[in-house]
């Protein structure tokens, strides 16, 4: 079980932001990824999440080379990777309550309905979301509360790999600690591989098993 970026170059509309990056996240390990702003960290995450097509190179998921992105990848493959985005505000549909937000990925793959409520309740409990918060819409909760709901959503499919793109940057220290502990707990239980993208060296030092620097990742190939 591993998530591998193999010689990935990517960009937007012909402007290349990432050149020849290679990175491996094995099951159960936590890899930190750092790099200056604009070095392509988020782009690498989007490529690994199968949301953005690389210009060259490819993603290898659990030994299988992935062709295509987004809807061209079967849902059962996409859901093996969980993603936690930097901005909870932007990554939550403003029309859904937090409960619907967490349940949505299960509904989307037609998970048996009677099992959904239990799974949502379990994750909400781990993320410290009360029933009152679950009934609210994003505009009525704080960034920290919303990111905890997004974390619950990212874990709802029991992904084998979790990508955190600066996911704790905007949060206060206690929420940061809660998010990290929920992820570590999940990792211990399921052997999930975790990629933590951050430009906070202290956070990566504490949390990650090893830290890669995007500038060396792109040169070492």
């Amino acid at each position: 079980m591993s998530l591998v970026a193999d010689g990935v170059s990517a960009g937007y509309r012909g402007r290349r932001v990432l050149t020849d990056a290679s990175l491996t996240v094995e099951a159960g390990e936590t890899v930190g990824l750092r790099g200056p702003s604009g070095s392509g960290k988020s782009t690498l995450v989007r490529v690994l999440a199968l949301l953005h097509a690389p210009e060259t190179g490819h993603v290898i998921l659990d030994g299988e080379r992935i062709t295509g992105t987004r809807h061209r990848v079967p849902a059962s493959v996409r859901t093996r990777i969980g993603v936690l985005f930097q901005s909870p505000r932007a990554s939550a549909d403003p029309r859904l309550t937090l409960e619907q937000l967490i349940a949505e990925p299960l509904l989307a793959v037609r998970h048996p309905r009677d099992l959904i409520a239990g799974r949502v309740a379990e994750l909400a409990d781990r993320a410290g979301l009360t029933a009152d918060l679950l009934a609210r819409r994003p505009h009525a909760v704080s960034d920290g509360q919303l990111q905890r709901a997004c974390l619950a959503r990212a874990l709802v499919h029991r992904p084998r790999h979790l990508l955190c793109d600066e996911a704790t940057t905007m949060l206060d220290a206690s929420t940061q600690a809660l998010v990290a502990s929920v992820i570590i707990g999940e990792q211990r239980a399921t052997g999930m591989g975790v990629l933590v993208v951050s430009h906070d060296p202290a956070l990566l030092e504490r949390w990650a098993d090893r830290v890669e620097d995007l500038t060396t990742v792109t040169r070492s190939h």
């Binding site: 996409r78 859901t79 901005s87 029309r95 990925p105 709802v156």
Partner: protein, 274 residues
């Protein structure tokens, strides 16, 4: 109660107008071509609250019939424009690329023409009828809806929550029905509602110019047009009454639509405690 009527008269006025348009024909049917030369150009009185015109026809009675026609044309034309605009905007916004470019250039080209003239051109090619008027308004008023739908879809599609949905396993259909349409539909519905008064106004303009409905038919535009003759002889009511009906009804619809628009924003909705 009286307080509400004064501060927010739009809904009660609109209800009154729609009620009259629906109920009056049941109890007081109108013979569209009847004239009564014995009571020509009578000023407003108890028996003829809106007066009579230069052919002795009751102005208020005919205004209510005219309102029926105007509302029917307004609603149907606005819906037709919404369907065309929704399809064009939806295709452009969802497919993007060259489809988007071609469709939007067509929109720009049509938008560059004065739409009243284009509407006149379309009715002039057809025989004056209700259908021709609806078609003319529908074909000239879908542009704004197409633009709204397209820009809304384009901006939604790049939002991170769409990425999150895709990563979570949502199919294309699921993304469309669960995350895109719920954001777009209220805006389309609002655009349609705002278009109704405009379409009503257009029907009136076309009829006023003699291009809308057949002249004997009671429509607000025809009546205002006929009333011009009476203005010179001092009977102002023949144009004023249908004119007032159109102003009051279109303003009431626009006011209600504006209030609805304010409620659509979830933040405003939270403040209104809905």
């Amino acid at each position: 109660m009286a307080d509400v009527l004064i501060r927010r008269p739009a809904a009660p006025l609109l209800l009154l107008a729609i009620g009259a348009a629906l109920l009056v024909p049941l109890f007081f049917p109108l013979d569209q071509s009847a004239v009564a030369l014995g009571r020509v150009a009578l000023p407003p009185s108890f028996t003829h609250p809106g007066g009579t015109d230069d052919l002795g026809r009751d102005v208020l009675h005919r205004s209510i019939y005219g309102l029926r026609v105007s509302l029917l044309v307004g609603v149907v034309a606005a819906l037709a424009a919404t369907v065309i605009g929704g399809l064009v905007g939806g295709l452009a916004g969802m497919l993007g690329g060259w489809v988007d470019r071609v469709l939007m250039r067509i929109v720009d080209t049509i938008a560059a023409l004065p739409h009243l003239l284009l509407g006149i051109f379309i009715v002039a090619m057809l025989r004056p009828s209700l259908g021709a008027v609806v078609l003319s308004i529908g074909l000239t008023h879908w542009l704004s809806t197409a633009r709204i739908v397209r820009s809304e879809l384009l901006s939604l599609r790049t939002r991170t929550f769409i990425d999150a949905a895709v990563a979570g396993g949502a199919s294309r259909t699921r993304v469309l029905t669960r995350h895109l349409l719920p954001h777009v539909v209220p805006k389309i519905a609002l655009a349609t509602t705002l278009m109704i008064p405009h379409a009503v106004w257009h029907e009136t303009s076309l009829s006023f110019l003699g291009l809308g409905l057949p002249p004997h038919m009671a429509s607000l535009g025809n009546m205002i047009n006929d009333g011009q003759r009476s203005l010179l002889t001092g009977s102002w009511w023949a144009s004023l009454v249908p004119g007032l009906v159109i102003v009051v009804v279109t303003l009431a619809i626009a006011a209600l639509a504006a209030r609805w628009r304010d409620r659509l924003d979830p933040r405003v909705r939270a403040e209104l405690n809905l």
